[in-house]
């Protein structure tokens, strides 16, 4: 599925939004190529999550456009954007914590279970077929991420790292073309973070996805990103390949603080 004009799957153009007079995102433009892992980094409060929330339709930008596969996403609701093929995870986990792992994944199958309300009332054959199919697909993803043994356990029973992985599984159930990950390594230890890095790369290849990533763990970002954009104060201050970013003096100053250079 290539867009007609170029290889950009996602194009942000001159995006701005402010809350209560404070500019959270300020004239941001960036292009994400198909099938790459693209990271946005920057200090806390630089506007990274805000960008994600604009892309997935929770915030409406004051100006600018978000183009995904040639379609402007601004003014579309979150559920429509999910339907267009954008799946995401959240910084602070937005799992349905009272439900089981499988139920969480089945909710993400909402778009793919083709049943009508009256059929569900009567539990017709179609409902049984569709439900079984959705369940199979959910199990396939659970298997893929090594979570199948947890299927029938409520979310609240799990420690944080497993919940993170469940949320990733849920986002994958949406069959997205663009996967947005908001701090997937937050709260993970070194070993888990390394594991996650491999998983993200594997997912990108196996599911043929584009990945957009916000992350604070620099080792992970530098390891797996194809390209990186650095935000500060809602503005882009640098972008490029990991090596370029690592050696960019402006980045080091803004992100790591003055003096990091001579440290």
């Amino acid at each position: 599925m290539k867009s007609p004009n170029n290889d950009n799957i996602l194009t942000l153009d001159n995006l701005s939004i402010s809350f209560g007079g404070i500019k959270a995102v300020d004239g941001l433009s960036l292009k994400v190529n198909e099938n790459e892992i693209f990271s946005i980094i920057g200090p806390n409060g630089a506007g990274k999550t805000t960008v994600f929330n604009i892309i997935s339709g929770f915030y409406k930008p004051d100006s600018g456009t978000v183009e995904f596969k040639g379609r402007n996403l601004v003014n579309h609701k979150p559920h429509e954007i999910a339907r267009f093929g954008v799946g995401r995870t959240f910084q602070n986990l937005e799992l349905f914590s009272r439900m089981t792992v499988l139920e969480n994944l089945l909710i993400a199958k909402h778009l793919y279970v083709k049943t009508r309300f009256w059929e569900e009332l009567l539990k017709t054959k179609n409902v049984k077929v569709e439900e079984a199919r959705a369940e199979d697909e959910a199990y396939a993803i659970l298997n893929y991420l090594g979570l199948e043994q947890y299927a029938h356990i409520p979310i609240s029973e799990f420690p944080f790292p497993i919940q993170k992985r469940i949320e990733l599984a849920r986002a994958l159930s949406l069959k997205p073309e663009l996967l947005i990950l908001d701090e997937p390594a937050g709260g993970l230890n070194m070993v888990e973070t390394e594991e996650l890095s491999t998983i993200i790369q594997r997912i990108r290849d196996d599911y043929n996805l584009t990945v957009l990533l916000v992350e604070h763990d620099m080792s992970m970002v530098m390891n797996i990103s194809d390209r990186i954009t650095v935000l500060q104060y809602g503005k882009e201050i640098a972008d490029g390949k990991p090596e370029e970013i690592q050696n960019n003096p402006m980045v080091i100053e803004a992100y790591l603080g003055k003096g990091a250079m001579h440290a």
């Binding site: 200090p43 806390n44 790292p161 993970l188 604070h216 080792s219 500060q232």
Partner: protein, 238 residues
């Protein structure tokens, strides 16, 4: 002065702190580093008694405060400046500051301290009648710190004071923290901005998934290979 001995606590079934021991000497500035969700904030919440302990012991000036309430913690002089500033948005700047002195009864001294804050942060004096939500991010952070100081803390707990602030302002705030320390205030600082935090810290702890994985002198950790790679993003030392 403050000792956390093998404390463990959790949110529901999610373990936040796992057998953590941290010591803060009187007059020292101690930093806690770590990624988002590593348990840094939980640590401060445990100290200011917002979070119950499941195991372990909290000692403050030799007294066991494991079972005390948040109000008692404030009375004891343990004052936290919370993450995200948490100023009272619809109160004026002055009202915010007086709230900081809620537990104090010495009206005259409070008045003096108000003046003192105004001299520390002249910008707050100019805006003393303004509603706090109209302040900029940096001003709000200053207000939050000033509000904490109004309680005359014996130990000041700071949770990510650099959050969402421009580097210039972060430097201002950190140099103010250094001044405070030199004036004799004990400070426990939680930071994601590892470089800044390590530079001013006497001693620092690194938290990962609720456990202390590394500790040492600030300058020592700055040179540590692992810290440099995961928190400073510097791969190879040049």
């Amino acid at each position: 002065m403050l000792k956390l001995n093998n404390i463990t606590c959790s949110y529901g079934k999610v373990l936040a702190l796992d057998d953590v021991s941290i010591h803060v000497e009187k007059g020292a500035l101690v930093s806690i580093l770590g990624a988002n969700g590593a348990g840094k904030s939980s640590c401060l919440k445990a100290i200011s008694r917002l979070l119950k302990l499941q195991a372990g012991q909290l000692l403050f000036q030799g007294n066991d405060i494991t079972k005390s309430t948040p109000e008692q913690a404030v009375h004891n002089g343990i004052i936290q400046v919370p993450e995200g500033r948490m100023i009272f948005p619809d109160l004026t700047v002055t009202e915010n500051l007086t709230m900081g002195a809620y537990c104090r009864k010495d009206k005259k001294e409070i008045q003096n301290d108000l003046e003192k804050m105004n001299s520390y942060f002249p910008i707050l004096k100019d805006r003393r009648r303004q509603i706090a939500s109209t302040l900029s991010g940096g001003e709000q952070q200053m207000l939050a710190i000033a509000r904490g100081l109004m309680a005359r803390p014996k130990i000041l707990l700071l949770d990510e004071p650099s959050l969402g602030l421009a580097p210039v302002i972060v430097e201002d705030i950190f140099s103010f923290l250094l001044e405070l320390k030199q004036a004799g205030t004990t400070i426990l600082l939680v930071e994601q901005n590892a470089f800044m935090a390590l530079q001013i810290a006497d001693y620092a702890y690194v938290l990962e998934t609720g456990k202390v994985t590394l500790e040492g002198q600030g300058k020592e950790l700055l040179e540590n290979e692992r810290v440099r790679e995961s928190y400073l993003g510097i791969k190879k030392s040049k």
